[in-house]
């Protein structure tokens, strides 16, 4: 069941568009902010709330890179795989994450703490290599800096 808060946020968002369904992408993100990911049941409820079929909303949800349709860890590490980051150290960061933290793209750490995801160019090319840790930009990364960032995540 969608919570009262989720319903209210989605309804508010829908008011910004002449058609309710236009709010569907933001609605999926609202659910994701509350629950970490968008489960089938939640997706069906959002579809009903916005007057869409479940299949249609799933088609939208699976189109966008940042709508997560399966459970993830408590924290997200988005490592930029753009060409400027690749040039300046991303492969070494990736190797380090796998060797020292058993983190591969799309995989959540055994303790459920962090999920590593690839992301296209983050627009931080002048400070490569870069990543987002729970959405916040981290730049000029080194394996040592990644260790520090990961150790800080509760």
């Amino acid at each position: 069941m969608l919570s009262e808060a989720e319903r209210e946020e989605i309804t508010q968002e829908a008011a910004r568009y002449p058609e309710r369904r236009a709010a569907c992408i933001e609605a999926l993100k609202i659910v994701q902010r509350h629950r970490g990911f968008v489960a089938d049941e939640a997706l069906a409820e959002v579809a009903a709330l916005l007057g869409m079929s479940t299949a249609e909303l799933d088609g939208v949800a699976t189109f966008y890179n940042q709508i997560l349709r399966c459970p993830v860890g408590r924290h997200l590490l988005h490592l930029c795989d753009g060409v400027m980051c690749w040039m300046q150290g991303e492969p070494a960061l990736r190797a380090h994450l796998q060797a020292q933290h058993a983190l591969r793209p799309g995989v959540t750490s055994a303790d459920g703490r962090v999920t590593l995801l690839n992301t296209p160019c983050l627009g931080l090319c002048h400070q490569a290599p870069a990543a987002l840790v729970d959405g916040e930009p981290e730049t000029g990364l080194t394996p040592e800096r990644l260790d520090v960032l990961l150790s800080r995540l509760p």
Binding site: E19, N65, M84, T119, C125, H126, P129
Partner: protein, 436 residues
């Protein structure tokens, strides 16, 4: 002389990296353009000024904004939308992020002036998912602007109302294609629409819709405040195809192994060499420049002997490349050019919307062949297979410009790095250790 004379777009930026707030923006002449437009210029006069300035779209195509604005038909009593394309996902590009984070009111003012010119009823700023800092700053600036009467009902007492909303996307490069962006805004899969009718005639929910890039909008307040003649006088470009000259400044960005990567606002038409050697401080010690992509991943490679190329919209065509977004990527001699191509083609293959066959099937094929070169599995005939794709994938065979854009670096790369491809074949491996 104020900073705004040479750097109209970034001259107000704060040194601490925070966003310029409303009071600060107003003190530096902010919202004067909007006040002038609404109080003393007719909507048609505003459009004419932008037309005369020959402001060319900063999103990559360089289409004159004035012509696009004039294409919006009269729409009495009906909805009309103005949309800022802030879905900046071109690998190498970050100019729009810089502009939104540094001076969010400048974008808002540009959009409201455009909306006045078109008598639009509402607007959306379409920001990519990952630009959360820019989105937060825009949200705060929108609230400030609304409280001050620059937005919402009865803008500056004119009797005209305009609502401007922030839309944050969910991550997909194709959303930057303006008709795909409209589908995304309507809550659909971001698949490009047929070329006709144009969005200016039938866009969002079937109503006239004018989509411009962030940087394009940011130029508008300055054109209205200072006039088209001033704008044209700033540029250093040669006469453009559509009459007049490329005017104004450009926010160029620079990345790769140069001494000072970053963003640089400079007159339109600044030579690439000036950007790399003066602004960027040249190559880092131990690295030599191998090639440059002048405007992001979907622009071709330029050989080092052409660095004097002016960075305006028309000159790059003489060198077989495009200005694109003016976001320069420098490739050095320690980086495998085949690997760089593989990285970029993997991105284009992943970000294909899947709608048309040459893109959906062709790009993954290209990516697999390039990977085979990197892994030492390629055969000599694979070079011809790559070349075939550059011939078969073009604007006449695909639905939008996504896959043709992906072919630009491949086509020029095949010509420029032929010996590197052959070296991969000969050695049966990638001879570089890029990024490790």
């Amino acid at each position: 002389m104020s900073l705004l004379d040479n750097h109209p777009l970034t001259g107000r930026f704060r040194s601490d990296g925070e966003a310029v707030g409303l009071a600060e923006y107003e003190r530096a002449g902010g919202y004067e353009g909007l006040r002038k437009a609404v109080k003393s210029l007719s909507p048609e006069a505003v459009t004419d000024e932008v037309f005369k300035a020959n402001l060319r779209g900063r999103g990559g195509a360089g289409f004159p904004a004035g012509i696009k604005w004039k294409a919006v038909p009269p729409h009495p009593g009906s909805a009309c939308y103005v949309v800022a394309n802030a879905d900046e996902m071109e690998p190498g590009a970050f100019k729009d992020r810089v502009l939104m984070e540094g001076d969010p009111h400048q974008l808002i003012e540009g959009m409201v002036i455009a909306a006045w010119a078109l008598q639009a009823t509402a607007g959306y700023i379409f920001v990519r998912f990952e630009y959360q800092r820019a989105a937060r700053r825009l949200e705060a600036a929108l609230a400030e602007a609304e409280r001050a009467g620059y937005l919402g009902s009865n803008v500056l007492g004119s009797g005209w109302s305009f609502d401007l909303h922030l839309h944050t996307s969910a991550g997909r490069y194709i959303c930057g294609e303006s008709s795909a962006l409209l589908n995304a805004l309507e809550g659909r899969r971001a698949i490009p629409r047929a070329k006709l009718p144009r969005p200016t005639t039938a866009g969002l929910w079937g109503h006239p819709t004018m989509v411009n890039n962030v940087e394009t909008f940011c130029n508008v307040p300055h054109i209205i405040t200072r006039g088209a003649a001033w704008f044209v006088s700033v540029g250093v470009g040669p006469p453009a195809r559509r009459g007049g000259v490329d005017g104004g400044t450009k926010v160029y960005t620079l990345s790769g192994r140069v001494n000072r990567p970053g963003w640089y606002e400079s007159p339109m038409g600044t030579p690439l060499r000036t950007l790399i050697e003066e602004h960027g401080g040249g190559m880092r010690t131990g690295y030599a420049l191998r090639a440059v992509q002048p405007g992001g991943a979907s622009t071709g490679f330029l050989a080092p002997e052409h660095l004097d190329m002016p960075m305006d919209f028309d000159s790059p065509e003489r060198f077989g490349v495009r200005l694109g977004t003016g976001t320069v990527m420098v490739h050095d001699d320690h980086t495998c050019p085949v690997g760089a191509l593989h990285n970029m083609e993997r991105f284009f293959a992943q970000e294909s919307c899947g709608w048309c066959t040459p893109c959906r099937e062709g790009l993954p094929w290209v990516e697999k062949i390039l990977l085979a070169f990197e892994e030492g599995q390629a055969r000599p005939e694979d070079l011809e297979a790559l070349a075939m794709h550059t011939r078969l994938i073009d604007l006449s065979t695909t639905f939008c410009a996504h896959a043709p854009g992906a072919m630009a670096p491949l086509e020029s790369g095949l010509a420029l790095f032929r010996d590197e491809f052959e070296r991969h074949l000969r050695e049966g491996r990638c001879p570089y250790l890029t990024g490790t």
